[in-house]
């Protein structure tokens, strides 16, 4: 009677995940384990890309954006559209994905977030409602069918790190995963540059440290909020564009990344952006390692349990310098 159409598609997607790792199980041997850890590098890249945007909006504006996953999904759809309409290369669609989602993010900030400022639970709920609406609208426009995006031919294939004497690969990593981590690190670098080396970044940091004081000193805080939120959403869009060819594109695809990105932000803390890098490395690699020894769903539960314990003892995240209040 209750039809959870969306969630059924979602669970299907999860089930694919589960079978993917099930076949990898077997005896523990060094090479497969090394491969798994290198695959983990790819996960780290995805986590870093998705967590970065969240960390910025949470760190500066103290708002929880539960629609972040949907912005990732929007970025993926922008890439899909660009590719199907203009046969564009995936790399070229990245700026469009950034701009498109940043635009939607700006509209969201103006219409929803701004009205609920200072009420974190309400913001959280509103963004959750927004995520349902975005999913619904995308489903209306593109239908719930899975869409596929082609990855560019020049970054397909694997980088062989160790081979047997006859040339069969033992340890390898796909170029695409290297590409993801490169993009993620690049975005981290650009964000760090913007935050610490530009006047605008200084204003953003001022707002993050003390909003009222920044306002008194003439910082246009509402403009900073708008730009920060749009930038965070834009980063989610880039993540979506890059992820799109890794898996299929579908309306509920973002939900999973949302939870994982939050785990990263909670682990790393939002005080320093390097925390996001460390957090995604920790979560991505421990996920990959546990998934190798046991299986993927168990790994998810164990990482979650670890994060819950972490919140008890290091609520500000692992990589935050202790401050005196």
């Amino acid at each position: 009677m209750l039809d959870f159409g969306l969630i059924q598609a979602h669970t299907l997607y999860l089930a694919q995940d589960a079978t993917a790792t099930a076949e990898a199980s077997g005896g523990i041997d060094f090479y497969t384990f090394a491969n798994q850890l290198l695959n983990g590098i790819g996960i780290v890249g995805v986590l870093l890309l998705t967590g970065l945007g969240l960390a910025i909006t949470f760190g500066v504006m103290r708002i929880i954006n539960l629609a972040h996953g949907e912005f990732i999904m929007l970025g993926a759809y922008v890439t899909f559209l660009m590719q199907s309409a203009f046969q564009m290369d995936l790399l070229l669609t990245i700026p469009f994905a950034f701009l498109g989602t940043a635009l939607v993010g700006a509209v969201t900030e103006l219409t929803v977030i701004r009205r609920l400022y200072g009420r974190p639970l309400e913001t959280l709920l509103a963004t959750w409602g927004l995520s349902i609406v975005i999913q619904g609208v995308v489903k209306l426009i593109f239908s719930a069918q899975l869409k596929y995006v082609k990855s560019p031919p020049y970054i397909s294939g694997n980088l062989l790190l160790m081979t047997r004497q006859d040339g069969t690969p033992l340890v390898s990593i796909s170029y695409y995963r290297l590409f993801i981590i490169a993009i993620a690190l690049l975005m981290l670098g650009i964000t760090l540059y913007l935050l610490y080396k530009t006047p605008l970044g200084r204003q953003v940091r001022a707002v993050a440290q003390n909003r009222d004081m920044a306002k008194c000193l003439g910082v246009n805080t509402s403009l900073i909020d708008l730009l920060t939120f749009a930038y965070g959403c834009g980063l989610a869009g880039i993540a979506g564009a890059v992820i799109s060819s890794l898996k299929s594109v579908s309306p509920p695809m973002g939900q999973d990344y949302l939870v994982d990105a939050w785990m990263v932000v909670v682990t790393g803390g939002v005080d320093k952006l390097i925390g996001v890098l460390a957090g995604s490395f920790l979560i991505g690699e421990s996920n990959a390692a546990i998934a190798y020894i046991l299986n993927d769903p168990v790994a998810r539960v164990m990482v979650l349990a670890a994060v819950i314990v972490l919140i008890r003892y290091r609520p500000e995240g692992l990589f935050t310098v202790q401050k005196r209040a």
């Binding site: 009677m1 209750l2 039809d3 959870f4 159409g5 969306l6 969630i7 059924q8 979602h10 669970t11 999860l14 089930a15 995940d17 589960a18 929880i64 539960l66 929803v112 009205r115 609920l116 974190p120 639970l121 309400e122 959280l124 709920l125 509103a126 959750w128 409602g129 927004l130 995520s131 349902i132 609406v133 999913q135 619904g136 609208v137 489903k139 209306l140 939900q255 999973d256 949302l258 939870v259 939050w262 785990m263 909670v266 299986n295 993927d296 769903p297 168990v298 998810r300 539960v301 979650l304 994060v307 819950i308 314990v309 919140i311 008890r312 003892y313 609520p315």
Partner: protein, 394 residues
């Protein structure tokens, strides 16, 4: 003196409310005779969802803990009951003529896992139905509420729990029945009597009424006052010497236990339980009932669950995009109607019947009254002092 007290008691005893509640209860009681079998089953289900919504309202509306995991507690209770019913399926009714549930046979299990086997016995199943969600909630609550993080963390953790457990339950096919969950369960029998749908309806009706009445009593007690103060200003209430975390953990655990019982009652009615109810979408549904009904009203979430469930039942035959409509509804409620639909109908708000209403105009009148009394108090004190001085003179 006693006359005065009698009068006070009579005036504060909400006669009208009790009469109304009695009539509503009676209407619901005879409802199965008025509507068809299908509607009876639907309303039983919605009453359970209503109880679930009330349990969420206790933690969210009163204490300010927003949770997407109430579907998880509900489902955990449900699985406890489903194992009991599945294990008590006579071996002739079982597809494979063995004691082992069919999904375990399919997945190559030779014997019952030790952690499922005790659920064959009714008292243990009933205990598990309450305790598994409650203990689970207690553990999470102990870690989160004892920490110094803000309230939004618990919401994200509940989201993560919901999504992680969904994956886990789907992947552990041999133990949980995977995506299909536990289906084809036995009919619930108590003391050798088969519980028919109509009897089940009454059991559910009584359960929901008890949950509603208990929650009303709880939130109007001193405990309820403390919970509401935690929601209003957590720091201040902790400065007053209350251990905020303990209160939060208590209400969180209690709420999970209620959700678990609701889930346990859901299984004999629905005849199956599956990870659909674990998933974030169902948790969101519960949140939406509470948001739309009105947080902190208890009646609102129950009514919203009943009405939205009915609407949904018909809407889903017409449109595929019920979720989209729900999302829009949620956005509108959050942005423009923070008190939910109960905020629109203050006249039948039962809060007013039971306790002084918290609306600002009442406070204004009280303030005016106090202002008016202040000079009188001064005069009174002068008279008192004058009298005391007079006594000393003697």
């Amino acid at each position: 003196m006693t006359q005065v007290l009698d009068g006070v008691q009579r005036s504060t005893f909400p006669v009208k409310l009790f009469i109304t509640a009695g009539i509503v209860f009676l209407i619901f009681f005879i409802l199965p005779f008025l509507v068809g079998v299908f509607q009876t089953a639907l309303i039983s289900k919605l009453l359970l969802f209503g109880a679930l919504a009330i349990s969420l309202d206790l933690v969210w509306g009163f204490t300010g803990i927003l949770s997407f995991a109430h579907g998880v507690f509900f489902t955990l209770g449900g699985y406890a009951m489903a194992y009991y019913l599945k294990l008590n399926l006579s071996s002739t009714n079982n597809n494979y003529g063995v004691e082992l549930p069919d999904f375990m046979v399919w997945n190559g299990l030779e014997q019952l896992p030790w952690f499922i086997a005790p659920l064959k016995f009714f008292p243990i199943a009933i205990l598990a139905m309450v305790l598994v969600p409650a203990v689970f909630a207690y553990i999470i609550g102990w870690f989160i509420f004892r920490s110094k993080v803000s309230g939004v963390y618990i919401t994200i953790i509940t989201l993560a729990i919901s999504s992680a457990l969904t994956t886990l339950f789907i992947s552990q096919q041999a133990y949980t029945g995977g995506t299909n969950g536990i289906t084809d369960v036995a009919v619930l029998t108590l003391l050798g009597i088969e519980i028919t749908d109509i009897n089940l309806y009454w059991v559910i009706l009584i359960f929901t009424t008890l949950v509603l009445a208990g929650s009303l009593w709880l939130t109007r007690s001193n405990l309820g006052l403390i919970l509401r103060s935690i929601n209003e200003n957590e720091r201040r209430i902790s400065y007053l010497g209350y251990d905020v975390a303990s209160f939060k953990i208590f209400i969180w655990t209690l709420s999970a236990a209620i959700a678990g019982i609701a889930g346990g009652l859901f299984v004999p009615l629905n005849r199956f339980i599956s990870p659909v109810y674990l998933a974030v979408a169902f948790g969101t549904q519960v949140v939406i009932w509470v948001a739309i009904g009105g947080r902190g009203t208890l009646f609102g979430p129950l009514i919203a669950a009943l009405l939205l469930g009915q609407v949904q039942n018909y809407a889903e035959r017409v449109t595929q995009d019920w979720q989209l409509i729900v999302g829009i509804l949620l956005l509108v409620v959050v942005l423009f109607l923070p008190k939910g639909l109960m905020g629109l109908v203050p006249r039948i708000n039962p809060d007013r019947l039971l306790m002084p209403s918290p609306n600002p105009s009442a406070g204004y009148v009280q303030a005016r009254l106090l202002d008016w009394f202040t000079p009188l108090q001064g005069a009174f004190r002068t008279v008192q002092e004058w009298l005391i001085r007079g006594k000393r003179r003697h």
